[in-house]
């Protein structure tokens, strides 16, 4: 896909409009037909999820740990009614409220987990890929080993280590998030390291070295900003995995106490015995919440992935999109013309907006 980058003259790269440079907006415009439908559906569901999480205190009719209303206790395993549209759980909580509050817990865990693993994974990948040597080799083997390991088991072991298995709100969120973090670090590490190794050989890194730039400057200014373009993709995929891991932990009893926060996996665990007696509302709604949240985020991630891969992109606009590949190439204007113009383009941050995940190679 680099065929269009071979123009020999320094190309004046037109500065793209802001709406083109926003990460997802660009893909949205690039997409077509069904692909656009899937992306839009994903964005809508994800948006609903985030909004629910943020406005949970306003949306939820009751608190997540509330057991009684104005006219007494809610009662246990009450079928859906006007007061409790989704019924009540075996512990006497309102299912609807816990489903809504659960979005908040899930979002918090995603944020903490993904940010922590991005920082750790990106730093390790960058340093490891840039300097190489035995440190690099050891890290690669360690990360491969962790990557191949059942992530849920690793998360269980870690949550025992972090919180001893039982948790308060922030203790539980941190334990869950950090357990997930360790599982995800290898993924970021691998991607960023591979990109770093590739970019390290680029001419503009050489020239920066010749100019006497320090290793730190080259790493963070020249390499890092070019090595991060596949991150939004991994970010979305990891967010959905984070929700599933959190739910899995909760289901096995390593979640957050019901009085500390609402957590879908925990609620499903408590609903397990309800199913046998035909009580469906305690499991259906938290489960659907998980499915919807993961579905939305995954739809976005999948669409981004497809739009990134020319083989999978919708056919009609391939030609048009191919023109944009050049723009997002590692060096604006093409590697061949990476004279002062190319480097200047780099310095001004022209090509670093993360939307450019389409240029894998």
């Amino acid at each position: 896909m680099t065929a269009t980058t071979t123009s020999a003259t320094p190309v004046a790269v037109p500065k793209r409009r802001l709406r083109d440079r926003l990460p997802v907006a660009h893909q949205l415009r690039q997409s077509v037909g069904l692909q656009r439908g899937m992306l839009v559906a994903g964005l809508v569901i994800t948006g609903l999820f985030v909004l629910t999480a943020i406005f949970a205190p306003l949306l939820a009719p009751y608190g997540f740990a509330q057991l009684r209303g104005e006219d007494g206790a809610f009662g246990s395993q009450q079928a859906p009614s006007a007061e409790h549209p989704f019924g009540t759980t075996v512990g006497g909580y309102d299912v609807l409220s816990r489903v809504i509050w659960g979005a908040q817990t899930a979002l918090l865990v995603i944020i903490v987990a993904v940010i922590a693993s991005i920082i750790a994974g990106v730093l390790l990948g960058l340093v490891s890929g840039y300097f190489g040597g035995w440190f690099d080799r050891v890290l690669v083997v360690v990360c491969d080993a962790i990557y191949a390991f059942p992530s849920l088991l690793l998360a269980i072991a870690l949550s025992i280590m972090i919180s001893g298995g039982q948790s308060s709100l922030w203790g539980g969120i941190l334990a869950a998030a950090l357990s997930i973090t360790v599982v995800f670090i290898p993924q970021y590490f691998r991607v960023v390291r591979a990109e770093t190794v590739r970019i390290k050989a680029e001419a503009y890194v050489e020239s920066a070295k010749v100019l006497g730039a320090s290793n730190g400057r080259i790493m963070f200014r020249h390499v890092l900003r070019n090595a991060t373009r596949t991150l939004p993709l991994i970010f979305t995929l990891n967010s959905s995995e984070a929700i599933l891991t959190l739910a899995g932990l909760g289901f096995l009893g390593f979640g957050i106490e019901p009085t500390a926060a609402a957590e879908w996996g925990y609620d499903l665990n408590k609903a397990l015995s309800d199913v046998t007696s035909g009580i469906w509302w305690t499991s259906l709604y938290p489960g659907l919440a998980i499915v919807l949240a993961v579905l939305g985020i995954t739809l976005v991630g999948e669409s981004l992935n497809d739009l990134a891969d020319p083989r999978l992109r919708g056919r009609r606009r391939v030609a048009q999109a191919a023109g944009q590949v050049a723009e997002t190439s590692v060096v604006p204007g093409g590697t061949l013309s990476a004279g002062p113009g190319g480097l200047d383009g780099l310095e001004s941050g022209e090509s670093f907006d993360e939307h450019g995940i389409e240029v894998k190679r």
């Binding site: 083997v141 191949a148 059942p150 025992i160 096995l252 009893g253 998980i290 499915v291 739809l299």
Partner: protein
């Protein structure tokens, strides 16, 4: 070259497990802390050797694993290896059926999706694949239970076999622990039917998770191979598009699946813990969850370390198989 990597991988995994499990303290305090007076607790710790320097314990642990000794559980005092042999067969059986479901569902649907790519059928199938991934196995299991066991009443709610069948299998002179085989050995079709009926829902719940992965993989790879030269050549000879998908493009597209099965083993094992808990399928995952509840971290450490070894070895075997199938891959 690749074979040598198994050793450091196993070594790293057991080390990580050791560090993680022992970072917070010794297993005896975790299991019995608060239940015993401090003096007795200290004595128990001393007897088990947990008051020695951690590095000594670490090397002892490595030595034990090297000789195949994964420790003895605290709560019911059984060797972890015995737990694995007793319950591993159940997990193996479940994983086998789940993979079967994954193949039967994932591969044909993936080919269909590639055939109708970028049309409605494709979109529906892909959303289905994402749903397979997005639905936690325990939720899928609960829904299946609700519909087929409670509402329709056609399949059993939980367990590996009904009590009658289990009794009948007990009288076998030689028991494999794999219920399907044992049931065949009894020669009683009713027992076999009972065992198979118990396996249906757990296999679907766990299998769909992997089916989604297979579907996406087959679709992407078939689309990829459909644009290769030899498929173009076949197309120009007038081979029908449908035949291109089913005969020409699909075989090379299956090679990555073999590799991915290696990674799926990890996913399957993780999923097995959840599936077995949902269906009270008494396998390794079920026992792991039980030991977790009992805070028996020696058992957890042993089982997890052993699973790590299994995963590493399976990946190695899968790599070899991939090399055998695909002449282009050479290590």
């Amino acid at each position: 070259m690749r074979a040598l990597l198994v050793i450091p991988t196993v070594f790293i995994l057991v080390t990580v497990v050791f560090i993680v499990m022992r970072a917070t303290g010794d297993p005896i305090t975790a299991a019995l802390g608060g239940k015993l007076p401090p003096a007795q607790l200290a004595e128990a710790i001393h007897n088990a050797g947990y008051d020695r320097p951690i590095i000594v314990q670490y090397f002892e642990y490595l030595g034990q694993i090297f000789t195949g000794n994964f420790g003895t559980t605290l709560s019911d005092n059984r060797p972890v290896v015995e737990v694995l042999v007793t319950y591993g067969t159940a997990t193996l059986e479940l994983a086998f059926y789940a993979l079967l479901v994954a193949f039967i569902v994932g591969i044909p649907l993936g080919m269909v999706a590639a055939y109708v790519r970028d049309r409605w059928g494709d979109a529906v199938l892909r959303v289905f694949a994402i749903l397979c991934y997005a639905t936690p196995v325990f939720f899928a299991g609960m829904l299946l239970k609700l519909v087929f066991s409670v509402w329709l009443g056609v399949l059993p709610v939980a367990g590996r076999a009904s009590t009658g069948s289990e009794l009948e299998m007990q009288f076998l002179p030689f028991s494999t622990g794999i219920y399907t085989i044992d049931a065949i050995l009894t020669g009683d079709p009713a027992v076999l039917g009972d065992v198979l009926r118990h396996a249906v829902l757990p296999a679907i719940a766990l299998g769909l998770l992997t089916a989604g992965v297979f579907l996406r993989l087959v679709r992407t790879n078939v689309i990829g191979t459909l644009s290769t030269d030899y498929v173009d050549a076949a197309r120009s000879r007038g081979v029908a598009e449908r035949r291109l998908v089913t005969k020409h493009a699909y075989r090379p597209a299956l090679i990555p699946i073999v590799t991915v099965i290696g990674l799926q083993i990890a996913l399957l094992l993780g999923g097995a813990v959840l599936t077995e808990t949902t269906f009270e399928w008494k396998g390794l995952g079920f026992m792991l969850a039980e030991y977790l509840q009992a805070r028996d971290f020696v058992a957890v450490q042993g089982i997890v370390a052993m699973l790590a070894v299994i995963v590493a070895l399976t990946n190695f075997v899968v790599d070899i198989i991939a090399a055998l199938i695909d002449p282009r891959v050479r290590y």
